[in-house]
Symmetry: C2
Subunit: 427 residues, 2 copies
C-alpha cells in the first residue's frame, strides 16, 4: 500500500512466526520455501487487513433495542454487556476483513480480553471523564484504563491511548492534565472533534474559542493527538491541524447518519494531514469500513468523470483504510503494508464474483465494485481467523445467542431505558 | 411496502402461477394450503424484489478495460458485446436481490433476449438519437426499438419506453416528435436530466432555457416522463417537476462518482415527486442498488441523531428501491408489494449474520447494516433464480469466461479505444 498503484500479480506472501518474511513471485516462493501450511487463493487479491480507526464496539448490542425505544446507558448495563457487544463487533469486523480496531468504551478490560481471546489487534481508549458512572467515580475510570495499559504493556497486539470523552463536557484543567499525563507516559490521545456545528457553537459560547483552538490553547495539538470526525472544518482549522501534525479519523457514514454532514474530504486529503477512517458511533452501530472507504472515494472525486481520477480516488481511499489507519494508530512499523518484518495482518478478497468481473483495474474494482461480501480470508499476526468466509475461532452462534438475550432484556424493560446524565445526551 | 413500517412476523407468502395468492401467518398457511414446493427461511426477511430503475447494463464489460485506457464505444463493439455485458449485469443484480431493471443501451433486442432467457423483469429503453452509429442510421435505432416493442407486446416481464439520448444533443424537433410518438403509442419516456451544471449551462446558452424548462416548452413534462439524475435542481425546478407529475430516478453514487454532486434528496422527497433509484451509468458500471439505497437514507437524515428519524429514512429509502421503482416504471399494479395478485418478484434476505444481529428494527438494520451480501434467494414471477445465494439458472462461470475474453480483446487493442463522436463525449 505504500507505493501508489502497486499491484503485484501471481505473488506469494511468506509468513513465519506471525510476521511477513518475504513477498515474491509465487513460482519463486515454491522453489525457495518448504511450507508447513500452503494456502492458494487463485482468483483473489491479498492486501493488508483493514483498520477501523474508531468504534464504540460495545454498542453493537443496541441494534437489538426495538424501534421507538431509546437504548440504556452502556455504563449502567455493565461489563458483561460490553464483552458481548464487543464480540458482535469483532465478528462483524473479521467477516469484513478488518484486522485492527481502535475502540472507545467504558470497559477497557473487557475490550482487551475480547480482542486477545479472538486474536484481533486493538487500540483501547482509556476513558477520561469528569462525570461519575453508576458505580464508579471519574477517577475510577482513569485508574481502570491505566491498569489495562500496565497489564498489556509489551503485548504484541494490544495498545492503549487516552480517550477524553468528550471535549465539550471536560474542563480545561482535565484536558490539560490529560495532555501532561499522555506526554509523560508517551501515550496517544483520541477524542471527538468538530463533529457538529452545535459542538462548535457551544465551545465558542462557553470558552470563547472553537474546540480545535481551545485544544491548541491547552497544548493538546501535537502529533500524539488523533481527532475523530472533523465534519466541520474551516480552511483555518485545516491549516492549524496540519501545522500541529495531529491526525484525523473520518467517519463519513456516521457523520451523514447523525445528520452532521460530510467532512471536507477533498480539502483534508489535499492538506497532507494523516487520515484514517472509522465506523464511528451512533445508534445501531455498524462496522462497515468498506462502506466508509467507498464513500470517501466517491466524495473525493473531482468534477467530471475520469478513469484516472477514479483510479486515484480508489487507491487513496484504500490506503486510508489500511496503511493510513495503521499510521494513525502509531502502528505503521508493525502493520499496514505487505512488507517483510510487518505482522501478517492480511485480508484476502475474492474477485471472481459478478460485481468485480471482468477484471481491469483491481483497485478501482475493489473499492467501487467490491465490498465486505468479497472478503474470503483474514489473518492477524499470521493466525487465520476467517477461512473461506467462515470463522475459524469465533463461535458466532454462541455470540449471536448472547446478543439476542440482551435484546430480549432491553425490550422487556429490564434496564432503565432513559438517559444517564452525561452532560450532553447519548453518545 | 405500501403501509409504512409494516413488518409481518412469522408469515408465509403463497404463490400460484407466478403470482402472489395470499400473505398470511405461516401456521394458517400450513393449514390452508398443500404446497408443491415449500421453502422455509426461518431467520430471514422477505421483501419485494429491488428495482434498478436505471442502468446501462452492457457497459459492465468496460470494467475489464485496464487502468489508463479509455473504453471503446459500445456501438462499435456490437451486439454480442451487449449481450455478454448485460448477462454480467444480470448476474450482479440477481445476486443483489434486484428482480427488475430499466436498461438503456443501443441493442434493445439483445437486452430483451438476455432478460427473457434469464427470467429477469426488464424495461427496455428504445434509443432515440440523431447521430448515426457505425453501421446504423439514427432512424435505424428508432425502428429497431419499435420492433422490439412490437415483438414483446403483451410479454409478462418485458416492456419498453422511449429513451432519447441525450437531451443536449437532440434538436427541439426530435424531442417534440418523440413526445408525440410516445403519446400516440401510450409509451413512457426516460432521459438523463440535470445531471451536471455544465449540461444546464449548455442548455441555457444554446436554447435560452434550463433543460427542464426546454422540455416543458416542448410538451415533454407529463406523468409519462421519467428523468434520471436531477443532481442539480433549484426550488423552481422541483416545483415545475412536481406540478407536471414527472417521476425521477436518483443515482446518488453515480452522481458522486462522476463528480456531479448529490441530488437534493431531502427537498425532492419532501416535494412528493415519485422517486426511484438506479445505478446509473459511468465508467466501471456497477449495479449496487443496496449502496444507492443506503446513501439515500444517510443523506436524507435530518440534522441530529434520532432513532425515529433513522427508522423513517430507512423505510422511505427501502420503499424507493422497491415499490417506488415499480411505480416509476409503470409497473405498480404488477410488482413492488407483497400483495395478492402481484407477480411474485421476491427478495429474501438472511439477517442472521454479524452485521444485522441482534435484531431490533428489521428495516433500519436491513438498510443501514445489511447489504447485497445478505440476499439469499430471489424469485421473479414465482420462478426461483437464486437459491441460498447460488444461481439456479444463470451459468456464471460461462458468463465470466466470456466477459474476460472481452477484457482480453479490449486490452490487446482489438477495438479502437477512442471516442465515437456522440456530440458530447462518452456516456
Amino acid at each position: 500500500m505504500r507505493a501508489r498503484g502497486a499491484v503485484l500479480e501471481h505473488h506469494a506472501v511468506v509468513v513465519r512466526d506471525g510476521r511477513i518474511l518475504e513477498v515474491l513471485p509465487a513460482t519463486l516462493a515454491a522453489q525457495r520455501y518448504a511450507c508447513t501450511v500452503l494456502i492458494r487463493r487463485p482468483a483473489h487479491l491479498l492486501m493488508p487487513g483493514m483498520v477501523n480507526a474508531d468504534t464504540h464496539a460495545a454498542t453493537s448490542l443496541f441494534r437489538g433495542v426495538a424501534a421507538g425505544s431509546t437504548p440504556p446507558d452502556e455504563r449502567i448495563v455493565g461489563a458483561e454487556f460490553a464483552r458481548d457487544g464487543i464480540l458482535v463487533a469483532i465478528a462483524e469486523m473479521l467477516r469484513a476483513g478488518i484486522t485492527c480496531f481502535a475502540d472507545r468504551g467504558y470497559f477497557p478490560h473487557e475490550a482487551a480480553r475480547a480482542a486477545a481471546d479472538q486474536g484481533m489487534r486493538i487500540v483501547i481508549g482509556m476513558p477520561v471523564t469528569e462525570t461519575a458512572g453508576p458505580s464508579k467515580s471519574a477517577a475510577d475510570y482513569l485508574t481502570e484504563g491505566l491498569n489495562v495499559r500496565d497489564e498489556y504493556r509489551g503485548h504484541p497486539s494490544i495498545s492503549t491511548v487516552f480517550a477524553p470523552h468528550r471535549v465539550s463536557t471536560l474542563s480545561d484543567a482535565a484536558l490539560a492534565r490529560t495532555a501532561a499525563l499522555a506526554d509523560e507516559l508517551d501515550a496517544g490521545i483520541v477524542l471527538d472533534l468538530h463533529e457538529s456545528a452545535a459542538e462548535i457553537d457551544g465551545s465558542i459560547a462557553r470558552h470563547g474559542a472553537r474546540p480545535l483552538e481551545r485544544l491548541w490553547n491547552l497544548g493538546l495539538l501535537t502529533p500524539a493527538l488523533r481527532a475523530v470526525h472533523m465534519a466541520h472544518a474551516t480552511a483555518r482549522d485545516i491549516e492549524l491541524a496540519r501545522r500541529c501534525g495531529i491526525s484525523l479519523t473520518l467517519c463519513p457514514q456516521s457523520s451523514l447518519k447523525r445528520g452532521f454532514g460530510l467532512p471536507a474530504i477533498g480539502a483534508l486529503a489535499a492538506s497532507g494531514i494523516r487520515l484514517s477512517v472509522g465506523s464511528g458511533g451512533g445508534a445501531d452501530q455498524t462496522q462497515d469500513v468498506w462502506g466508509e472507504m467507498k464513500l470517501l472515494a466517491l466524495v473525493s472525486q473531482a468534477a467530471g468523470e475520469s478513469r484516472a481520477g477514479e483510479s486515484q480516488a480508489a487507491w487513496d481511499s484504500l490506503a486510508i483504510a489500511t496503511c493510513g489507519g495503521a499510521a494513525a494508530l502509531g502502528l505503521e512499523a508493525d502493520v499496514g503494508a505487505l512488507e517483510p518484518g510487518q505482522w501478517a495482518d492480511l485480508c484476502c478478497v475474492d474477485l471472481a464474483g459478478p460485481a468485480t468481473q471482468p477484471m481491469g483495474n483491481p483497485v478501482t474494482q475493489l473499492v467501487f465494485g467490491g465490498g465486505r461480501e468479497c472478503v474470503s480470508d483474514v489473518w492477524v499476526a499470521g493466525r487465520q481467523l476467517l477461512s473461506s468466509a467462515e470463522f475459524t475461532r469465533l463461535d458466532w452462534p454462541a455470540v449471536a445467542a448472547r446478543a439476542n438475550e440482551w435484546a430480549s432484556r432491553f425490550n422487556m424493560g429490564q434496564y432503565n431505558m432513559g438517559q444517564f446524565n452525561m452532560g450532553e445526551g447519548r453518545r
